[in-house]
Symmetry: C2
Subunit: 205 residues, 2 copies
């Protein structure tokens, strides 16, 4: 069995999709959580100055989506052929567009610019994407792609709480198909176990 | 032979990687370029309200990276196994981080916020990424991954002029390995032919 060591901040963010994937795979992993002081020291030792970094048998990997897509191939959460992979990748990239709209608001350090983003985000972008995701989920048997669970579903659900925090609203309230998907993913025994035992997030300062 | 119809704006942007991939594959494609007036009418007919959209035999696909990864499998620009795919995906995602830092500056509509981004972008982010990409290219025989040409190289090079325009500088001046990769990709006969015949970009208004 390979050894897995994940390094990330003590939050959900882009580390949680990998934590969910490793939990789904039922493999043990070291869950290293660094604060900003430790990060300053660690940063130059990472491949591109960013976290998460997953070490598999000591080899450093970065980029959460690339890592999840790779792990998915080992546990049946990728597609069965090129067309299925394409559908999963389209769903994941679309989730990223949605996430980016929210993080672009949340992490904006210019107060005036941030405030100006709120109304279009809240009144247009979020309802638009949620409506479209509902259609997508309904046309795929409750999943984002191919009528079955994939790493894109795991990725989306693992970050949902974090997105809700950044978007200052419960995103699944008006999105019953998304709520159902989230409930289903969170009911997978190995993921349920992870969520019950994971440390509480600590806001970065 | 499938029929390919690409719809995008009359610019390089995220349409050009697909145009490059289709050119590399030496397949004919319709290169539909819409202005903002046409776009307003077209938008509701697209899968998620965004371009590019590639129709293959009439089936609408969106998300440029997902599409390029899919096309790559058909023309030998993907990996030969899961590890090679992982390396390509890491390189692509890292390119996206770099691109996003530049677009976050270029497309910022708040003048104060935009101005504040310039110095860290120009003095820190751009030199940091270019230096790291140089290391990556040198350790991979001049390519971004696996010592051979992949869709990640095509993606990066196809957007390089656009990135230079947004970053207000020639990014390859201080990055000889990147310059060499760009020259090499642009010398591939089918890509060279495309670049020579492609319509000039028309700034969106």
């Amino acid at each position: 069995m390979p050894t897995y060591k994940l390094t990330y901040f003590p939050i959900i963010g882009l580390g949680e999709p990998i934590r969910f994937m490793l939990s789904y795979m039922e493999v043990d992993f070291e869950d290293i959580r660094v604060n900003l002081e430790q990060w300053a020291e660690l940063k130059p030792k990472t491949p591109f100055g960013k976290l998460p970094v997953l070490e598999i048998d000591g080899k450093q990997l970065h980029q959460s989506a690339a890592i999840c897509r790779y792990l998915a191939k080992q546990c049946g959460l990728g597609g069965k052929d090129a067309e299925e992979d394409l559908n999963i990748d389209i769903a994941y990239d679309t989730f990223t567009d949605f996430r980016t709209a929210i993080t672009s608001y949340h992490y904006d350090s210019n107060e005036e610019s941030k405030n100006a983003k709120w109304e279009p985000l809240n009144k247009e972008t979020i309802p638009y994407y949620l409506g479209k995701f509902e259609e997508l989920l309904k046309s795929n048997g409750g999943y984002l792609a191919n009528g079955k669970l994939s790493w894109a579903d795991i990725f989306f659900v693992s970050m949902l709480d974090y997105l809700c925090m950044m978007a200052k609203q419960d995103l699944s309230v008006t999105a019953p198909a998304l709520k159902k998907l989230a409930d289903q993913v969170l009911a997978i025994p190995s993921i349920k176990k992870w969520v019950e035992k994971r440390p509480a997030s600590i806001p970065l300062k």
